[in-house]
Amino acid sequence: MNDKEKMENLIDELKKDLSSKNKEIVGYLEKIEALEQEIMKLQKPIPGEASKVRSKREKPEDIFDPDSASAIIIKDLVKQFDDVTAVNGINLEVKKGELFGLLGPNGAGKTTTINMLVGLLNPTEGTATVGGYDVKRDLSKIKEMIGVCPQEASVYKFLKGRENVELFGNLFEMDKKVLKERADKFFETSGLKEASNRKAKGYSGGMIRQLNLIIALINDPKIVFLDEPTVGMDPRARRNTWNFIGDLKQDDKTIILTTHYIEEAEALCDRVGIIDYGELIALGTPKELMKKHDAKDLEEVFMKITGRRILEGV
């Protein structure tokens, strides 16, 4: 055998070897897939799920529509706290007048994302614009056009309900007459009219949360951030708040709602972004997502993607 033949034989042997290795790899992959399906059926949290989720997340080119009028644009947004990545490369666009829901378990990164958009946290990487203004450069402009309802009910307990609302209205330098009219309207529609002249110290938890929401809306913001606005409310108060939020949509406001309540997202949101381990893993209207993942509700959508229930947390 000459050298040429020797080398050809070697190549043939390597090809055979590669083929057998390929079969072995395919076998392993099939086993992995079968195990993953088993895990999904068990519906239990899986440590280290983020790496699997990462491959399924929405790509920027699927998200951005350059012709649309956008209220919020988020590109590759990252927030790192020491060795914890709370938000990991989120890309998202929210259109003007849209009620957009950020859905995900507790600790998924929803509040961190909101906090970066309203200027309470600086992004580690990436960019975001709110109402056309950059969150890193034009924060003062952004603050003039937004309303924020924080997750924790933040009101001055020693002030009366009306005094709380007036205080925050004055911080937006609202006209006194307009401020009074808007406060009257909100107290009337929220059912807090009687209690508005009482100190917040005596309010029930549900009343405090409603006052929390009124304060967020008093300045007639173009863009409203509602961070888990119905947490801790009884079903009746929650339903009232949904109606209240639904009415805001008629005013053509852009609303970003974070929630871990499936029914809240389904009932209110035009579109939903599902967030898990700091990553956006699904995006679309509730119907689109359910159709795409052949699921009966968003809970099942989340389960099919991550293998966990939303309320189980991260």
Binding site: V118, L120, E144, V148, E152, S154, K157, F158, L171
Partner: protein, 247 residues
């Protein structure tokens, strides 16, 4: 800007009136202290010579020092309840927010001075002072209240809760109370007093209320020192609270 600051000042004053702990520390405590010392050491209580006449100028500073506690508790309480974050997402700047605290506490200092002055008078203290002297005393008190706001901010930076803030504030309150007000210090200890804002205020008010000129070189020098101290402490307080205060 004015609308924002006025709204915050109104809120802080309502906090003073409606929160019993604030009301006690800022207004009732100086009043009770003046009455107790007046009765124990003043001519009304029969003391001869009336030691109260020597103590009274120090009581003005004494009252103002406790602003450190109320400011630190106010900031930590607001931080715990998410109110600092909430204000932070409005167009209010940190300068406007802290400025409103400074204005409120200056107003409180003026009220404290008036309370201590009137009650001391009732207790038999007769300061040898004219209108310009009283105005100068007010100016000293305003600078001391500014120092107290700055020290309150530093305390709020360290403290994790309002309860912790009330305890930690004594780091700044106690040395000023004992080395910078009405307690007569031995020579060796006076070196410590030189670093305390209340010392300069007490010393200047004592001079003015004992008939000294409010525009004497010594008084003006003390005014310069307390003004410089207050600016440095407030800037340091704002810097530390913004950087490490976890708003």
């Amino acid at each position: 800007m004015i609308q924002r600051v006025l709204a915050l000042v109104k809120m802080e004053l309502l906090k003073l009136i409606r929160e019993p702990a604030n009301l006690f520390m800022n207004l009732l405590f100086p009043a009770i202290l003046t009455l107790v010392f007046g009765l124990a050491f003043g001519s009304l209580g029969g003391a001869d010579p009336p030691l109260f006449d020597m103590m009274a100028p120090g009581l003005f500073a004494y009252a103002c020092i406790f602003i450190i506690m109320t400011v630190s508790m106010s900031f930590t309480d607001d931080r715990e309840n998410g109110l600092l974050k909430r204000i932070n997402v409005t167009p209010t700047t940190s300068t406007q927010f802290i400025g409103s605290h400074i204005i409120t506490n200056m107003l409180i200092a003026v009220i404290q001075l008036a309370i201590v002055y009137v009650l001391s008078f009732i207790m038999g203290y007769r300061p040898n002072v004219d209108v310009s002297g009283v105005i100068m005393a007010f100016i000293f008190m305003l600078f001391l209240s500014l120092c107290s706001v700055g020290l309150g901010l530093i305390t709020a930076t360290i403290a994790k809760s309002a309860g912790a803030a009330s305890g930690l504030s004594f780091i700044f309150i106690l040395p000023q109370m004992f080395f910078g007000t009405f307690i007569i210090l031995p020579e060796g200890i006076r070196i410590i007093a030189a670093f305390l804002p209340s010392y300069y205020v007490t010393d200047a008010i004592t001079t003015i209320f004992n008939g000294g000129s409010p525009f004497a070189v010594g008084v003006l020098m003390q005014l310069g020192i307390i003004a410089l101290m207050s600016v440095v402490i407030v800037i340091l307080g704002i810097f530390l609270f913004k950087k490490y205060g976890k708003v």
